[in-house]
């Protein structure tokens, strides 16, 4: 049974990820490649642009490690990792659904997906908008902690809003939504960047829009897959 639910979730996520992969190659990868031409380093994966606080040690390390060559290798790597990301998000949504006892169905799947979009794309983007290579940024670990924390806090708030009607629950939900932004995302030392501002803005807007589609598909496919293969998971 666990295997069946897991398989249904992973396949739904992989399907959404493969479709997102197509959107990515058409709309987002060209912008990433263009941004990389503005990077100060000559190597396409040397991300040590002016203003980053990332350690140089990490970058020398990166330069030595294997990286997919531009062309089919990079396309394949991106498509595969996008499918993995879809599988990860779908498994997490399905896990939350099983733990809370709130079923994901064909009818409400898209709502689950859009809640994922709000928690994992919209809320973090308010502090850390999707960025292009070569843009200045704060400490990587601090940003990752803030990013994951914001997703968890916003997700908890959405759960409270969806399941509770008490005043205290709604107040707590507002607190959870606001807290990460009151703390504030780790800011870059400078906003000066070789990447043109309109390129960065175009990328952020397109990435957020693409993620809206990605998350909607995850929810819809998850609803269909669980309905078909794991409906009995919620029978008790």
């Amino acid at each position: 049974m666990i295997g069946r639910v897991l398989l249904a979730a992973l396949l739904a996520g992989i399907a959404a990820g493969l479709i997102m992969g197509i959107i990515l190659h058409v709309r987002l990868t060209p912008l990433i490649l263009e941004a990389e031409t503005y990077e100060t380093g000559g190597h396409s994966h040397d991300h040590a642009a002016d203003g980053t606080t990332a350690t140089t040690e990490e970058h020398t390390h990166e330069a030595e490690a294997w990286a997919p060559a531009d062309g089919w290798q990079r396309t394949l790597a991106t498509t595969a990792t996008q499918a993995m990301a879809g599988a990860a998000f779908a498994a997490i949504l399905a896990g939350i659904s099983l733990l809370t006892g709130l079923p994901i169905t064909r009818e409400n799947g898209v709502i689950w997906g859009l809640c994922g979009f709000l928690a994992a794309t919209v809320a973090p983007a308010a502090g850390l908008p999707p960025e292009l290579p070569g843009m200045p940024a704060g400490d990587l670990l601090a940003r990752q902690v803030w990013w994951v924390g914001t997703i968890i806090a916003t997700g908890a708030a959405l759960y409270l809003i969806a399941t509770r009607r008490e005043t205290w629950a709604l107040a707590l939900a507002i607190f959870f939504i606001g807290l990460p932004h009151i703390i504030g995302a780790p800011a870059p030392v400078t906003h000066v960047s070789a990447v043109p501002p309109n390129l960065a803005a175009t990328f952020a807007a397109n990435a957020i829009a693409a993620n809206a589609i990605f998350w909607s598909l995850i929810g819809i496919f998850l609803g269909l897959a669980l309905n078909r293969y794991a409906k009995d998971a919620y029978a008790t």
Binding site: M1, A67, P68, T78, A85, A91, W147
Partner: protein
């Protein structure tokens, strides 16, 4: 717990176990794609990380 549907129905503890398993699998994949600082993982998932909005380098 009712036995009204079929024998494959999950008890609450089985459902929680399934939920934890899925969360664990999802979190592991999430870490590998989005957060791992291993250079090969970063390079392979590079464009995906940027597109989903993961903090990257």
């Amino acid at each position: 717990m009712t036995a009204r549907t079929n024998s494959a129905s999950l008890s609450i503890s089985q459902r929680v176990a399934a939920g934890l398993t899925l969360l664990f699998v999802g979190a592991t994949l999430f870490f590998a794609v989005g957060l791992s600082s291993m250079a090969v993982a970063h390079n392979t998932a590079h464009d995906t990380r940027h597109s989903i909005g993961f903090p990257c380098h």
